[in-house]
Each structure stands twice: as structure tokens, then as C-alpha cells.
């Protein structure tokens, strides 16, 4: 055996091969993050100029601000709800397609489309469809006056952005669930069927447990995505309102930084957001992943 083992000693070649990727990550992740971290400890006029070192002041401003905590709470509600809906529906659709119900080939093809639609476009479509005066859903208000008004009712506005975000994430989840389902050996399912278990029973006891790694992966991706990518939807549909009911963290950072030109405060909040997403992911890996068995 010895002598036949292939070893790889050319570390410089390895370095060279991964260099482009490292450069990309450095340019688009570590560099901006480092810059944001630096800004978070300073105060700087928008056009640049004399930068003052202010220590923790930006962070204390952020943490003492009740509206910041409001945006954290709203982000968590948004993240959990849209993840639950998007994964639930994605799984359901994948199970239907996997069972090869009539027309499944067509559905497999079209279900993925929503994910290819950019968030602002999703937002615009949902704003039109759900506009209380003029949208398709305005018919609801004909029968039950004032039941639905996301322009004035914070709960309605939150439901609107959750639906919009879930709608675009369903497609992504669907593809992964379908791939997960199709990698489960047919023989297992057939064996279950021969033992007399019904469709739902097989889903619960065979397919879902075997797909646990996929489920876990999707939870991590969905939560992270809803925390950092919801901006386009919020900006177009609700603008953070009414009365800050949909003022998610990403939107607040944008408003403080780009509309308010307070780059330092926005930088401090993005650092907090980054740590929060890291913490969430860490918790998921630490406590959820341990219960998952990769085959």
C-alpha cells in the first residue's frame, strides 16, 4: 500500500487554486465588514472629513433605543413566521410532486419560478394585489368593511410582508425538499406500503426523518435569508410602516444609513445584526444539528 498513496505536497499550488475565491470573499465580505466595524466606533460626516473616535457611543445609542428593540422583535416574528409558512408549503408541494400526482411534471417546472423573481418585484406585485382600495383583495372589504388594511393596520402589514417573503421562499424550499424526497430509496417506501401504512404515515415515519438534514439546512437558510434579504419587499410594500409595524432590522439600517446619512449608527446596527444572525445559526448548529443523523 505504501508508496501508492497519493499525497499532495504543493501547498503553494493549493494556495494559488483557492486564491481567487479567497480574494472574492475578502473583497465582498471581510473588507466591508471590517470597514463597518471601524465606522461603528466613529462619527463621520457623510462626505467624509474629520472622523471622531467615539468608542462604544454608537452601540449604547443603539441598545438604549426602544425602536431598535422594536425592530429586533419585528424581525424575529417575520423570520419565524415566514420560515414556517415557506417550509410548510414547500414540503407539501414537494410531497405532492413526489407522489407523481397528475400534472406533476408541469408543477415541478413552474413551482421554482417565484424564486427567480427579484424581491422588489415581489413587493410591487403584493402591494397591488393586497391594496385595500384597489387590489384584488379589496373585495374582502366590500363584505367586511375595514377588515383588511395594511396601510393602517400594523398586523395586516406584517401579514402582507410575511406572505410576500414566504411566497418567494416556497420555491427554493420546494426544490430542496423534492431533491431530498427523491434521494430516499423507493424500496423503503414500498416496504412501508406493503406493511400497510398509508400515505400520511409513510410521510411522517419514513420520509420526514430521512430528510432531517435537508430540513435543518433549510431552516438555517430561511431564517438567515429572512433576516438579511427582506429589504426589497419591505421597501416597496410598506416602507416600514404603519407606525413602524414592519420596521425590520435591515430596513431600519437602510433608513438610518442611507436616508438619514448616519453611516455610523447604521454600521453599528449592521454589526449587531451580523452577530445576531451568527448567534442564531450557532444555536441551530449547537442544539438542533446534534439530533440530526446524516446518512
Amino acid at each position: 500500500m505504501s508508496g501508492k498513496r497519493v499525497t499532495f505536497n504543493q501547498r503553494w499550488l493549493a494556495g494559488l487554486l483557492i486564491l481567487p475565491q479567497l480574494l472574492l470573499i475578502f473583497t465582498f465580505f471581510y473588507w466591508p465588514t471590517g470597514e463597518a466595524l471601524f465606522w461603528a466606533f466613529t462619527l463621520e460626516p457623510p462626505f467624509g472629513g474629520e472622523m471622531q473616535w467615539v468608542g462604544w457611543q454608537n452601540f449604547t445609542t443603539v441598545f438604549e433605543d426602544p425602536l431598535f428593540w422594536n425592530s429586533v422583535r419585528r424581525s424575529i416574528v417575520f423570520g419565524v413566521a415566514s420560515t414556517a409558512i415557506a417550509m410548510g408549503i414547500g414540503l407539501l408541494l414537494a410531497l405532492f410532486v413526489d407522489r407523481q400526482l397528475p400534472g406533476y411534471k408541469g408543477f415541478r417546472f413552474v413551482y421554482f419560478w417565484p424564486y427567480a423573481v427579484a424581491a422588489p418585484a415581489v413587493g410591487l406585485a403584493f402591494r397591488f394585489i393586497f391594496a385595500p382600495d384597489a387590489g384584488f383583495v379589496s373585495a374582502i372589504n366590500q363584505w367586511f368593511p375595514n377588515l383588511w388594511n395594511p396601510a393602517l393596520d400594523g398586523v395586516d402589514a406584517m401579514i402582507l410582508i410575511i406572505l410576500a417573503n414566504a411566497w418567494s421562499m416556497v420555491a427554493y424550499n420546494f426544490i430542496f425538499f423534492l431533491a431530498g424526497l427523491q434521494s430516499i430509496p423507493r424500496s423503503l417506501i414500498e416496504a412501508g406500503a406493503m406493511d400497510g401504512s398509508g400515505v400520511l404515515r409513510r410521510m411522517r415515519d419514513i420520509q420526514l426523518p430521512l430528510m432531517a438534514p435537508t430540513v435543518f439546512f433549510l431552516i438555517v437558510i430561511n431564517i438567515t435569508d429572512s433576516f438579511v434579504n427582506a429589504f426589497g419587499i419591505v421597501d416597496i410594500t410598506t416602507g416600514g410602516g404603519p407606525a413602524r409595524a414592519t420596521d425590520l432590522m435591515v430596513f431600519k439600517i437602510f433608513a438610518d444609513g442611507f436616508k438619514g446619512k448616519d453611516y455610523s449608527l447604521a454600521a453599528a446596527q449592521s454589526i449587531v445584526l451580523m452577530l445576531l444572525v451568527c448567534a442564531l445559526t450557532f444555536v441551530q448548529f449547537r442544539y438542533v444539528e446534534r439530533r440530526i443523523h446524516y446518512t
Binding site: 471622531q52 445609542t61 404603519p242
Partner: protein, 447 residues
């Protein structure tokens, strides 16, 4: 070998091609970059204005790029300046004036005009327009461009149905009219939204301050005042009218903005910029008769001039002499009487100089049906000489203060808190923003 030859040929062709296009586009004209913020129909007019300039002479060329919104134009200019890729001229809205004045990176208009021998006569600008963009010493630091003010839009037919032939001049009368309209079966007597601009305008015409230090003109240590005096009682009135169904909130989120709701005839009254006069004119329901009037005041108030809105043109530092000469030619050209007249004829904006306005009036411009009523906006802007409260608002990070107030008003109108409480909270948060701005700009003073 073949490969090498092929590659060589390809390079040669590419070089030839590059040389060819470079020749074709040889900069015979001196170019300069101009960024504007307006979008939609108004954005097209901006592009058209550039094209007219380029067609009017052969020495210079304006390269005009729309930035997709006033706030984007400001953000992009800041980012571009930090990378030293900024334009020579940029269109900046009223609320961005403070940032540019304090930036230290602009070429102020008075100096620029002197350095490049421009023909601007500063005294021609309407006093309300000039004072808004001037420093505390009265020097203009930017060139007034597209200017507007807020007006009351009213539906003559709806008012005819309640036997009225004039727009209400006071809020008391407006309340009676709204009740009459409601009684006559109009579902939406007046459309409102949470745009803070209308409240700034109302404070000005009632001669009420928004902030201490002459609305911020005299120093960065200004504090907000809109939770006292006139505004709390006016907003409480609006809330009462809203609860009674006399006013309806119309925003993009509800499905129709107030301009759309007015233009299609569903709401009989609204307050919006004179700049929308053209938009309403071209989108109004067929056969609808409507007009504009000065904003109402409360009875017993001596009316003041209203505030100018819109944007002005700033020249940035750090460009070449050639670019500045081109920019100066452009700025001179847009201030010629013909061009000052062109802007109001294709948009709802006002002519910004007294001579141009007088010439247009004499030529019968305002007697043409599609422009009729626009002269009332000049009346409103020039009603009195500007006072400390009606000159303008110069507060740091004002966009954020507006959005704080907007959020609190939404909370008040949806019944989450009383109006006074909402205004107090907005002022407290607004003052924090001002103090942060003051700290960020430490060592700088408003010119």
C-alpha cells in the same frame, strides 16, 4: 502557429475597432456630468432639458444621468464623492441643503458665478426662492432650479353640488364644506397622507416656527418646536375629521395616492405640490372641472408666504477647469428667460425669476386653460416677504426627522396614542437626531 496568428489578428482587429470608435466619439465638445433626482414624467423633462442644451450650442455637452429619486441622487453623490467619481452638477432637493452646505465639498454658487463670469442676476429670483437656498448671510450657495409650493386642489363640480363656487380660504370654511360634501353623498371629501411637507407649509403660512434658531438657519443647536402652538391643534382637528370620515388616507399602500384619488374624482379636495398641476391635468377624469387655491389658514390668522419646495443645482469641487466652463455655460443657459419659461410650460413648476413670471403673465400664459390657476402658487409664495418662520427649514438630517414625525402621526391616526403624545415623542426623537448631527459636524458652522 495558427493559434498565435489568430490571436494576433483578433488583437489587431480589436485595436482597430477601439481606435475607430475613439475617433468617432472624439470629444470635440467639452463634457460635464450632471445628475438629477426627478423620476417619471418629470425625469423625462430633465433629460429633455439637457438635450435642448446640447442642441443649443456646439462647444459643450451635458452628460445627464437620472439617479432614480431625490434621496438616491443625494446618496449616490455622497458615495461618488468619496470615490472621487462625482458629477460636476447635481440636483439636490430642499431637505438635502444642509448636508451640502456643511459638506465643504461644494463650489458655492456666488463664488462659482464670479469665477466663471456668469450673467446671473441674483436679485431676479423670487425672494422666497432665494432665501430658502441662501446662507444666513444671504449668499446663494446653489442655483435655484425646479421650484414649487403646496396648493389646495379642489373639485369644482363636487363643490357645485353643495352650492359653492369658490375654494375654502379658511380651515373653518373647509370643515363646513367637507360636512356639506359628506351630506351630499361624497364618500371622500378630502384626501390626506402623512407627507410632512404640508405641515411645514402650514406652519409657514401661519408664521409658526418648526424649530428654534430661526428654524435652524442660525445654528446647529436648534431644537424642534412642532409639539407646541399651531400644529398640535391642527393635527388634532385632522384626526377628528378623519375619525368622522371627512378625510381619507390615500397612499400608494392603500392603492391610490392622493393625487390619483383627486384626479379620478373620488376625493373632492387634497393638498399637494403645484408641480402636480400638470399630472392632474393630464390624468383627470374626463370632463372633470377642478382648480387650485392657496392653502387655507385658520380664521384670524395673518397669512404669510408659503415655502418653496423642489430642488436646486449644486456645483461640486474637484473638477477640471474645462468641466467648470461647460457647467457655467449650462447654468447660464437655464437661467435665460426662454429656459425659465420652458420649465413651467412642460411641468407644473413655477418660473423662478420675477422677470420671467411677468413676461409670461403679459404673454397670456396663465390664461391658457391648461395652465390656469398656476399663477396662484406665485401669489402664495410671494404673499408677504419671508419671515424667520417662512424662509425655510434648515435642520440636520431632516429626512430622518420627517420620517420620525411620519411614523408618530401614523401611530396617532391609528389610535395607538393621543396626538399630543405622538408629537412629543417625535420631537424628543427628532432632537436626539439633531444632537447627533451636531456632534457629527463638530467644529463646523452653518454658513
Amino acid at each position: 502557429m495558427l493559434n498565435k496568428r489568430l490571436i494576433g489578428a483578433a488583437f489587431g482587429a480589436a485595436a482597430l475597432f477601439a481606435a475607430g470608435t475613439a475617433d468617432a466619439q472624439a470629444p470635440a465638445r467639452q463634457r460635464f456630468d450632471y445628475w438629477y433626482g426627478l423620476t417619471g414624467q418629470l425625469g423625462e423633462r430633465m433629460a429633455e432639458h439637457c438635450a435642448r442644451f446640447n442642441a443649443s450650442q456646439t462647444r459643450f455637452e451635458a452628460v445627464c444621468v437620472g439617479q432614480g429619486g431625490y434621496d438616491r441622487a443625494e446618496q449616490n453623490t455622497i458615495a461618488a464623492y468619496r470615490a472621487r467619481q462625482h458629477p460636476t452638477i447635481v440636483q439636490i432637493y430642499d431637505a438635502g441643503t444642509v448636508n451640502f452646505m456643511l459638506s465643504g465639498v461644494t463650489y458655492n454658487a456666488v463664488t462659482f458665478a464670479r469665477d466663471f463670469n456668469m450673467n446671473i442676476n441674483w436679485a431676479d429670483y423670487f425672494p422666497g426662492v432665494a432665501s430658502y437656498y441662501a446662507t444666513s448671510r444671504g449668499e446663494m450657495w446653489s442655483f435655484p432650479y425646479n421650484s414649487s409650493t403646496a396648493m389646495l386642489y379642489w373639485n369644482r363640480q363636487a363643490f357645485g353640488s353643495i352650492g359653492r363656487t369658490e375654494a375654502p380660504a379658511t380651515w373653518e370654511q373647509l370643515e363646513r364644506d367637507m360636512r356639506a360634501l359628506r351630506a351630499a353623498g361624497h364618500a371622500c371629501p378630502m384626501a390626506i397622507d402623512f407627507d410632512i411637507w404640508q405641515f411645514e407649509q402650514l406652519s409657514a403660512i401661519h408664521n409658526q416656527p418648526i424649530a428654534t434658531q430661526n428654524n435652524g438657519y442660525s445654528g446647529l443647536n436648534a431644537e424642534l418646536l412642532f409639539n407646541r402652538g399651531f400644529l398640535p391643534s391642527h393635527i388634532a382637528n385632522m384626526k377628528r375629521w378623519y375619525d368622522e370620515g371627512l378625510m381619507r388616507i390615500q397612499t400608494a399602500q392603500t392603492g391610490k395616492t392622493l393625487v390619483q384619488a383627486f384626479a379620478d374624482g373620488s376625493c373632492a379636495l387634497t393638498i399637494t405640490s403645484i408641480a402636480n398641476h400638470g399630472v392632474v391635468g393630464s390624468t383627470a377624469a374626463r370632463g372633470m372641472e377642478w382648480g387650485v387655491a392657496m392653502l387655507p389658514v385658520y380664521e384670524g390668522t395673518a397669512r404669510q408666504n408659503s415655502l418653496v419646495g423642489g430642488a436646486s443645482l449644486w456645483v461640486m469641487q474637484g473638477k477640471s477647469r474645462g468641466e467648470y466652463e461647460a457647467a457655467a455655460a449650462f447654468l447660464d443657459w437655464i437661467a435665460t428667460p426662454d429656459e425659465v419659461r420652458w420649465m413651467p410650460s412642460v411641468t407644473g413648476y413655477i418660473p423662478i425669476t420675477t422677470p420671467a413670471f411677468n413676461a409670461m403673465t403679459a404673454a397670456g400664459f396663465y390664461r391658457q386653460p391648461q395652465y390656469e390657476g398656476r399663477e396662484i402658487s406665485i401669489q402664495s409664495l410671494t404673499f408677504t416677504p419671508p419671515s424667520a418662520n417662512s424662509r425655510g427649514i434648515r435642520l440636520g438630517n431632516y429626512t430622518s426627522i420627517r420620517s420620525e414625525l411620519q411614523s408618530e402621526l401614523q401611530a396617532a391616526f391609528t389610535g395607538q396614542k393621543p396626538v399630543q403624545q405622538a408629537l412629543d415623542d417625535a420631537v424628543a426623537r427628532g432632537n436626539q437626531i439633531l444632537r447627533r448631527f451636531e456632534q457629527t459636524m463638530r467644529g463646523r458652522e452653518l454658513p
